[in-house]
């Protein structure tokens, strides 16, 4: 299973996505998601029912009702969108996904191991309750390299973040170098030694 989403067999699929506690990072991703296809959230979709109480609908997205300026997407209806590539949806922590797929050859995103509860009804596969891949009892395909730790990053995704005090590329660097102290000491001792040697050595030079 690769890190990306296996989507090669999706065709004519209907996708309903209900997202809890999601903050999509950039405005661009918002625009991308909400304008993936034309139209608006359909009234017979579970997203509509969900959104009636929790937020307001704009395009294909359901936004949370909150007082801050930040728009948080909590629902997405991509029914009849003929999607073949939904990778960028997973820049956020997705907690609940409903996928209605016409072609049942599709592998659920990240397999059943990514979700606590998986139900199949009426051509829809409902995956609920994202599991934390870092805590899996099943052996992970690979471990985070040295000086980093695993943290979840979407259903079946993980990222390796640097441990405390480690930073930089590949978490190779540790701590802060005391550059001012080192340079200060070196400059001071150079001045002292040079002056000392000048007075004892080169001042005595006889010009032939």
């Amino acid at each position: 299973m690769t890190a990306g989403v296996t989507t090669s067999t999706i065709c004519l699929c209907t996708v309903f996505i209900v997202l809890f506690n999601v903050y999509v990072d950039s405005q661009d991703t918002d625009a991308q998601l909400c304008q993936m296809c034309e139209g608006t959230v359909r009234q017979d979709s579970p997203v509509w029912d969900f959104c009636l109480t929790k937020g307001h609908i704009r395009g294909r997205c359901c936004f949370r009702n909150n007082t801050s300026n930040v728009d948080t997407i909590i629902g997405l209806d991509l029914a009849n969108c003929s999607i073949s590539h939904i990778e960028h949806l997973y820049n956020s922590s997705t907690a609940f996904i409903i996928l209605k797929i016409a072609d049942l050859n599709l592998n659920t995103l990240r397999g059943n191991a990514s979700w606590e509860k998986v139900e199949v009804k009426n051509n829809a596969k409902i995956c609920q309750g994202q599991t934390n891949i870092c805590n899996q009892t099943v052996q992970m395909p690979w471990d985070c390299p040295e000086n980093s730790f695993c943290s979840p990053y979407g259903p079946g995704f993980f990222e390796c973040s640097c441990l405390h005090n480690f930073h930089g590329y590949k978490c190779l660097r540790q701590g802060e170098f005391p550059i001012v102290k080192v340079l200060g000491i070196l400059t001071g001792s150079t001045v002292v030694v040079s002056s000392l040697l000048w007075f004892t050595q080169r001042r005595k030079v006889k010009n032939t």
Partner: protein
């Protein structure tokens, strides 16, 4: 002998010693951070069941793609070593000639400070600016090689000015430990600062080297003549033999003293700003220069391969951490220091250098076989390293220092005194060409055939250096036999 030396001599010894220590420390930094640099230049290698995947976030794990994987980065690092050594070799031929013509102090300070700036740009500035470019690295390393090449001929010439032939083997042997001390210092500096990032290792060593250049500029006296003391110049290579066998050392010194004073007076009268220097080709054709240069080419190859690749070999072959490998590689240099000093002393007592070198090199071939089969035990490995260092580093140090001084002060130079830096430049330059060719070969052999073949290559090279010394060895053994026969006849 020791009453001839003043504290000025000690300071000249220490300052020239320090210059080369700092130079080698910064060179060693590069070889000690190879693992970290190649990690910085490559993305994370994650392979699972034959498929490649990438870690997130990309900025932390995948962003730098200067090389696709560590193997390519290693080949480039080997190429950088070769580039450095080639430009160092070319620079040596030139700098030797320059050093004999210009003020040694200016050339030395310029070389130290210039090289420090180049190293800073190479290692620290590129990392701070996140600018990684293969051609930029190569150009910088060529410039670094040219600038660093100014140092060795100047320091050997200055030492030759201050210290005469008596005890030269011992003093130069002790002094030539500067390269090994520099390696040790560089190893410790790099390993203590490495955790902050390899760019800080480069920062510290280049700033310290720059400071050294400043101190040398303000404090170094290039020759006893500058403060009115006597210069120690010789009139013949045979005077080395005469010294050790001589029944009348005092007469020897008096004779030389007379010659010295006369030549100094002459020079004062002429008021020449620059003493007459030997031509490059003339220096090349001096007796003994070519065989020793070729022998040194083979020997320096082996010596520098250990110098450049040892930490990398220890990490890859035994899986030890880079910091541990850096600390262990110190033992090779310790062996080199002891070897240079002890063998210099023996050759002084004997009056001949070639036999000592030949025996040491033959034993070194055995030591290399032993080291290549070293077990995965740090203690044993360290002991074998020290032995190998003694047997290889010893002759290497002697050829590049005491023998160069011998060659640059021999009888054929009656008319012109300034040949020391030129000859040193030639010997070391040829050595560096050999070492340069070897570096890339080492990384190539290692990637295609493995480390064991690299060791076989070293053994062959050591054997070749013995072959080159054979003519000189033959001559010196004959003269040894003749002298001992003459002594028995006298008795």
């Amino acid at each position: 002998m020791w009453s001839l030396y003043t504290y000025h001599h000690l300071l000249a010894f220490l300052l020239t010693f320090l210059s080369y220590v700092l130079l080698h420390a910064s060179r060693k930094t590069f070889s000690n951070v190879k693992v970290s640099i190649s990690a910085q230049w490559t993305p994370s290698a994650l392979q699972q069941n034959g498929s490649n995947s990438s870690l997130s976030p990309g900025e932390t794990w995948e962003e730098n793609q200067l090389f696709a994987d560590v193997e390519e980065a290693t080949l480039f690092l080997g190429a950088l070593d070769s580039i450095f050594l080639f430009s160092y070799a070319v620079g040596l031929y030139i700098s030797g000639v320059i050093g004999d013509r210009f003020n040694l102090r200016y050339v030395l300070s310029f070389g130290l400070c210039g090289s420090a700036v180049t190293e800073f740009v190479f290692g620290t500035l590129t990392e701070w600016l996140h600018f990684y470019n293969v051609y930029f690295y190569c150009i910088l390393w060529v410039i670094n090689g040219l600038l660093q090449s100014t140092v060795w001929p100047c320091v050997v010439a200055i030492m030759g000015n201050w210290f005469g032939k008596s005890g030269r083997g011992f003093i130069f042997g002790l002094w030539s430990a500067c390269a090994s001390v520099g390696n040790i210092l560089g190893a410790f500096l790099a390993s203590s600062v490495l955790k902050y990032g390899y760019e800080y290792a480069f920062l510290v060593t280049s700033v310290v080297q720059f400071a050294g250049g400043v101190v040398v500029f303000f404090g170094l006296l290039t020759s006893p003549k500058e403060i009115g003391l006597r210069d120690y110049s010789e009139t013949g290579l045979r005077s080395v033999t005469r010294d050790s066998d001589s029944q009348h050392p005092l007469m020897n010194d008096d004779e030389d003293a007379l010659c010295d004073e006369y030549s100094i007076q002459q020079r004062d009268e002429e008021l020449e700003p620059q003493p007459k220097a030997i031509g490059f080709l003339q220096a090349f054709c001096l007796p003994g220069v070519i065989p020793y240069s070729l022998a040194y080419a083979c020997l320096k190859l082996v010596n520098y391969s250990f110098f450049f690749w040892l930490p990398f070999y220890l990490c890859n072959n035994f899986g030890w951490k880079e910091v541990q490998a850096d600390r262990l590689s110190v033992w090779y240099d310790v062996g080199g220091i002891v070897g240079g000093t002890v063998q210099g002393l023996i050759s002084d007592v004997l009056g001949k250098r070639a036999p000592v070198l030949a025996i040491s090199l033959l034993l070194a071939m055995g030591a290399l076989v032993g080291y290549s089969h070293s077990p995965n035990n740090q203690l044993v490995n360290g002991a074998l390293l020290a032995t190998t260092g003694f047997l290889i580093g010893g002759p290497s140090n002697i050829i590049s220092s005491a023998i160069s001084a011998d060659l640059g002060r021999q009888g054929a130079l009656q008319n012109s005194q300034q040949a020391l830096a030129t000859v040193t430049g030639i010997v070391d330059g040829t050595g560096s060409i050999g070492a340069a060719g070897g570096q890339y070969l080492v990384s190539l052999i290692e990637s295609k055939l493995g480390w064991m073949c690299v060791f076989y290559f070293f053994i062959i090279m050591t054997g070749c250096s013995v072959l080159f010394i054979i003519p000189l060895l033959y001559r010196e053994i004959c003269s040894l036999c003749r002298d001992s026969q003459a002594r028995t006849h006298q008795l």
